[in-house]
Symmetry: D2
Subunit: 288 residues, 4 copies
């Protein structure tokens, strides 16, 4: 099932889409104000998330399609992490931008993946909201990625993530990675969280990205998560081991759609990312 | 099952007693920090509270008996309400203290029960903590009562309540009731919340109270909730109808153990209330 | 100064009106999201509330008049209390509706005022939102009142309150007062909180109320808070003494504008209350 | 002034030390439960933090020395960041452990400092609590550092930080830095927050560290923050620029006390860090 956050009268509501219809779960039960509440209840009772939802559907009023199109960031993660060089093309891009290419090759081929702190909820926008490029950066790119949603370390769902990055700052020195990655509006997630049970195989999903400037399409490519050289389980296990992970986290799995080297994002560009079964995450760009 | 709040290392834990053993539910699942969390999960998934607990028991470490004896207020109610003149003896006591006896008789015999706002969590103490008598009051009494616990208006459990009251202020004028009833440390609840499913018949419970001063027993009587002229359902329905009740509330059901008229509570007295299957709620008295 | 809560992009903002202009204090300092935050800071530093505001004004952008007209409930009180029979006309009305008139006369003339729990934030609406009349009540009235705002027991401001009440339930028996007073949408406050320093004399304010049905004016009277037989200090001192008052409370001071006995509120009626220097609180009526 | 968090009866209290005496600020004003509350009030009113404290002292009861010695983590930061290679010795150590020495030299000499996400409050311990070394790491070191406390991006105080790190994981590949730095119990701060106004010159503070194992001193060296090649202002400005920094953050300034290469922390070791005017931060070591 696909979970959205929609605007209610006094507070946001959690809605779920099932086939052609969508249902307001918060109206069905006031104790469910968010995906976090639903995941907490399922964790406590040991039920699958969708089973909890199923039992609520007959009390849940239907929701118009327009509400889903105006959906907000589908969850408030306590933290967002991301993985790097998990696709061959990404490894090549890092080698090209860096003066130290072997560092990326070693990670690409090594047992331990690269994972890094990406954002807090305050730095993360939802569908339709502006993603940012740093004013002190010259070369900026979107990074479309499949994102895992973890409740207390367990993968409970998937969403789309955009790991917007400064390639010029990262390229200058790998130690500048946090500044290339973590800043105002550096991350987007949405439009929905799809429960883990709904995704047959997260390593076999079509993913595409288009970038538009002044109505002109500058980039339009697609790939498959099957190209990833790591598994989701592997990435999640490195994130959670020896770690005090928070209640609700997002873990991006790395990118494989890389615009050519002459491309950089500009204020006003529009980035749209599609992943089969999750939806389309669309964001304009602003300078921050 | 009987639910207690015990002290953990960094935060309070929810524990449950089953026969001779008790289990730490918060250690079993960090998302359950309190009875409220458990009730919320059960409400969301539609499971009975004890069924949720059952599934957690094999992961829950056992808890020593000492921890239960140091248990704290078992829940943080958003508000506490109470019912009045629900027992014949209480009706007689109110008549005697008041210049307007027919008012109490009318309520005792009327369709609509008397229910009133009693306390907030901040005014309510747990087992072992001091209950208060107002410094501007001359005649003060404990009122031992069976208490319902309501989650979003549904009765999910029972506990013991002590509706400490100033009879001199209430007796002066019925309009002074809120000042006779609502003040610092005016209420005690505990020691545990017993799930509704565990109580065969809330209208057939033995209840007793002892009051001790300087090791001398001043009062020691018992009664049965079977003496109540209202049902719990009736009281709960008058509390919830046309009302915006909060997530977690306590509703006391009225008293039938009334010390003789010459008795008044003094600082240092010790009040102990027992209800079958719930436990013993014991509190010293201070002047506030 | 007059403080309003207005809608911001992601959260509500606190705005202040000074003469013809209004300023957004939350934009001036993100730590001030509400009147409570401002009162807390003033309480901690020992500054008058308006002095804190004064220092923020040069960083605060101006706010359009339309935003003030769409203002929401100006504060989220932890609890609302109210006083009864503080005006002669109110005492007469209570005598008339009750079978026990002497009870009201005694309070009117007694040392101790009548104060009672009126509402929580969840039961209290802001300007423009619907106030409620109980479906099980036949005779319902608005009660326009000057309202004190207390921060940790200190009077820090004033607003307008509407203590909507069921006279039939209260009239049946004084012990039913909580049910006549406390229910869904039983209270309105707003449109603004005026700092205590701004009000020269709370016992010399013009107050008026109009009630309109289908564009016809059914009631239009005015009075002065000078008619009150209690002082604000006296009412506040009885509320706070021996009591564990919450951080932020509202205390209504009683009513003196009483429609004639044949009048009862109906769904669709519009009630507007004006108090000099505070503004106009306008609410439609619904059945709850 | 030096601010501590001490245990109160029902909640933690904020205490301040002035000369030989310490005072309980939470008892003086219930609205101040933490350093964050104090910083928020000072930010709102524009007062210096210590000026706010000054006005509260006459209402604040004194606190025994024992309470300060049992002080807990002095603040709950929304996030902790840290700077790297800000001292010459640290640059040398990184070169030595890494196969890519020029990367560290470039940062040491470059305009842009290295700053990175270090921890959340949940991963950060206070004085006396155990710091962690990862079970999958072979070479682990404490990193004693002067730490800035930032309220909404402004430096309002200083504390001591211990940036516990896995040198083997970081040494394997610079891209593994987040895993070498961020894990369970990876950070310690305390024992107190010293207000910025109390520190004459943060670039002229004596700092020392001792490491003890089985009562034997394995390391005992001292240095001065005067050896730092960056200023605090510079580090803070890189952290805050183009960034959505949270309300309350800690920024560690880098290390210059580096045990010899054969040393690694073991479970049971005791690490004590002293900085002039701030105090001593002492923590045992556990494997996580």
């Amino acid at each position: 099932m696909r979970y959205f956050r929609i605007c209610g009268e006094d507070r946001d509501h959690l809605a779920v889409q099932e086939g052609d219809l969508a249902y307001d779960l918060t109206t069905a039960n006031e104790s469910i104000g968010s995906f976090r509440d639903l995941a907490a209840a399922a964790s406590i009772t040991g039920d699958p998330i969708d089973a909890v939802t199923d039992r609520l559907l007959d009390r849940a009023p239907t929701v118009g399609r327009a509400a889903l199109e105006d959906a907000r960031r589908p969850l408030d993660p306590d933290e967002v992490w991301a993985a790097g060089v998990t696709y061959e093309i990404s490894e090549q891009a890092r080698e090209a931008e860096s003066g130290m290419p072997e560092m990326y090759l070693n990670v690409y081929e090594g047992d331990r993946p690269e994972i890094f702190f990406k954002a807090t909820a305050e730095r993360t926008v939802g569908p339709g909201a502006a993603i940012g490029v740093r004013e002190d950066s010259e070369w900026d790119v979107p990074e479309p990625e499949l994102a895992m949603v973890l409740y207390r370390g367990e993968v409970v769902g998937f969403t789309i993530g955009n790991d917007v990055s400064s390639r010029s700052i990262e390229g200058e020195n790998a130690l500048y990675l946090p500044q290339a990655k973590v800043y105002d509006r550096c991350c987007a997630v949405g439009p929905a969280v799809v429960s883990a049970a709904t995704v047959d195989d997260p390593h076999d999903l079509e993913m595409s990205m288009t970038i538009t400037r002044d109505d002109e399409t500058l980039y339009d490519e697609s790939t498959s998560t099957g190209e990833m050289v790591r598994t989701c389980e592997e990435l999640a296990s490195y994130y959670t081991c020896h770690n005090a992970v928070p209640e609700l986290a997002v873990l991006l799995t790395g990118t494989s759609l890389v615009p050519s080297e002459e491309f950089t994002l500009r204020e006003g560009d529009l980035v749209a990312i599609d992943i089969d079964g999750i939806g389309r995450l669309k964001n304009p760009v602003v300078t921050v």
